[in-house]
Symmetry: C2
């Protein structure tokens, strides 16, 4: 069996995550022949994403086998994990052995809190991009950033683009092209409203206002974690 015949993806899932940060990459990566997923959390009880979707962990944090790809989604639940030593240890242990670590959206903040982004170029959801420096990362305004073995993406839907890039890195162009075609990924967003720079100003202001409370909390957490990491 060639080393490429199988691919184990370990995905951290957690309460109040954003389900699409995970389900987007799952859709892409699970189409790689030989790919298996472990949905990892502290217990195996069903949990709910930030809008109520039930997801079911299947692997305990302390029983997860080493992964080829470590997937870390984001969403408001990321806040609590940034001071959670068992989670951060899990990420560090996995990252040491993984071929790629892959953060989607504010999953990058969790990876940052685990010390995985020091000295790396990285990205995250546009609303949290300024927080990456607190973890010793260089923030890049891009949809997908690959630096060394860490792949990071912007918010939510960008996990699809990041996962296809990862397929390209792992299996080559054609493997990614076939998956892109199978999922008919020829997007046609109805508006120019996918980034704060292109969105109509009123829409951007409404969106920022909706994020205000979590934005404040994330800044405070980033500062505290940064001091713990000895970075500020």
């Amino acid at each position: 069996m060639s080393p490429d015949a199988s691919l184990r993806v370990g995905a951290l899932i957690f309460p109040a995550m954003d389900q699409m940060d995970f389900t987007g990459p799952f859709e892409v990566l699970s189409q790689i022949p030989g790919c298996t997923f472990h949905l990892v959390w502290k217990d195996l009880a069903p949990l709910r994403d930030t809008r109520g979707l039930v997801l079911k962990p299947d692997t305990l944090l302390n029983e997860a086998p080493p992964s080829d790809v470590l997937l870390v989604p984001g969403g408001p639940g990321q806040e609590k994990l940034m001071d959670d030593e068992p989670v951060l240890s899990f990420l560090r242990d996995q990252a040491r052995q993984a071929r790629y670590t892959f953060s989607v959206c504010t999953g990058a903040l969790i990876c940052g809190a685990a010390g995985l982004l020091r000295g790396l170029r990285a990205t995250t959801h546009w609303n949290s991009l300024h927080l990456l420096e607190y973890f010793g990362a260089m923030a890049v305004e891009a949809r997908v950033v690959v630096d060394g073995k860490h792949v990071s993406t912007g918010g939510v839907t960008s996990g699809i683009d990041g996962a296809l890039r990862l397929v390209q890195l792992l299996r080559g162009d054609q493997a990614a092209q076939v998956i892109q075609l199978a999922m008919q990924y020829a997007p046609e967003p109805p508006f120019q409203s996918g980034t704060p720079g292109t969105a109509p100003p009123e829409a951007a202001e409404t969106c920022r206002a909706a994020f205000r409370r979590i934005s404040e909390a994330r800044l405070e957490t980033a500062r505290r974690v940064s001091r713990r990491l000895g970075l500020c």
Copy 2:
């Protein structure tokens, strides 16, 4: 309370569906203020999508309240439902009262089998587009088609575009723009490979070959169902 203060989405979920046909629209529609989801199936046991993701129904088919939006995802499991009278009756009953029916990917074939597409322009996954005529629909090669109160989309990821279009129809441009920005939907597919016409020929051939068995089954089912509907 204005009629727009709440929005009930009833989503049919079923074994061997494609999870993203549902989770893409869920991500979008669940951000509408006042939106609630019912995940409807014959029993409440967890079920698995075509690649193994566990989803949890929360509402029984015969206990589902009327929906404002009826969401019908696709995936290989759609085959079995096309002769399943309780499912087809559920769809017809719901469709009668819904403001919109919304098929994603091969969910259109299920809607077609329920007789919901007669005389309508509609679309579905590129690999099944030629089957729509068996249900009395006019196949349109487009990512999102709105005809009357039925919204249909192409394969898998196009459910995101369709759901944003639906938000626009239900709540106006700005509501859709805010959601698009919140989920940073400014896609950058890594290849021109999202449709059979743009994909590299080798990728398209590999993809079609992978679909061959299900394509044959779907054609046979479409013919049989078409006879039952008295359409051929």
